[in-house]
Amino acid sequence: MSLTWKEFWAVFHGLLLGSAYLLAFAGGLAEFWNLRKRTQTPEGALEAIKRLKIGAWAMAAVCWFTVISGTYLVYPWYRAKGLESPRSKLLADPEKMLWHTFGMEWKEHVAWLSPILATAAAFLVSYYGVKLMERENVRQSTMIFFIIAFVAAAVAGIFGAFINKVAPVL
């Protein structure tokens, strides 16, 4: 039962950080939804906003760790020169080429939208605090950024998982 250094980082980047991200998003989205004015008592709102702040900043932090570790640790191994790199293997096989030309090309760029949007959403939650309940337009805008951040990361995560299955970083 062992992992190479590269396999460890591929798992850390994709599976561990990805799972933490999913948890933070699920919790955050539920709190955003529950923050509608009519569904909260003042005490409940205070507790909800505390959890939302933690969830939103956790999601942003995990997202930054994920894109930075992906771009500067795992991606260089993926795109290394030489016939044995995952990128070279994919491009050499016409049946697998699309995993790189579509999947990886989309994943590597769309992923970078996520931490920017997640950080903006976390800032808005912290800035308004419990007053977010009274600013319905701001709450909805923040929630939309939060959701787009998740969808962008989900696209990146799903393609990452499939590409690592088809041509793993070893």
Binding site: T71, Y72, H109, L113, I116, L124, A152
Partner: protein, 110 residues
């Protein structure tokens, strides 16, 4: 960081939204420019092992942070038209999502 109601102005919130939109848009714009112009793709090669992605994302983060600082300074303690700012920010994010979609940016050539 949350403040009493009478002190809350929407300027800093609008600055965060619009700058995030700008940062995302720059990711998309960089992707298209690197696709069209090989020289720009080479310029983005800030960290050779990671290739042009390092420069595309790096420039986007710089634009995001600088515009956030600038807009925060300009809109600090001000009320701005939130709907206008939100629509602009959302439009930039939607454009960014389109521009990083391979069939779109590859349509601009190699």
């Amino acid at each position: 960081m949350s403040r009493p109601e009478q002190e809350i102005k929407n300027g800093p919130a609008a600055a965060a939204l619009l700058s995030a939109g700008l940062g995302c848009f720059v990711v998309g714009l960089d992707t298209v420019l690197a696709q069209i112009f090989p020289a720009i793709s080479s310029f983005f090669n800030w960290c050779p092992p990671a290739g042009p992605l390092s420069g595309k994302s790096g420039l986007a983060v710089i634009v995001w942070l600088v515009s956030w600082a600038f807009l925060s300074a300009v809109w600090n303690d001000k009320e701005v038209d939130f709907h206008v700012v939100w629509r602009a920010a959302l439009t930039l994010v939607i454009l960014a999502n389109l521009l990083v979609f391979p069939p779109v940016f590859e349509a601009f050539g190699h």
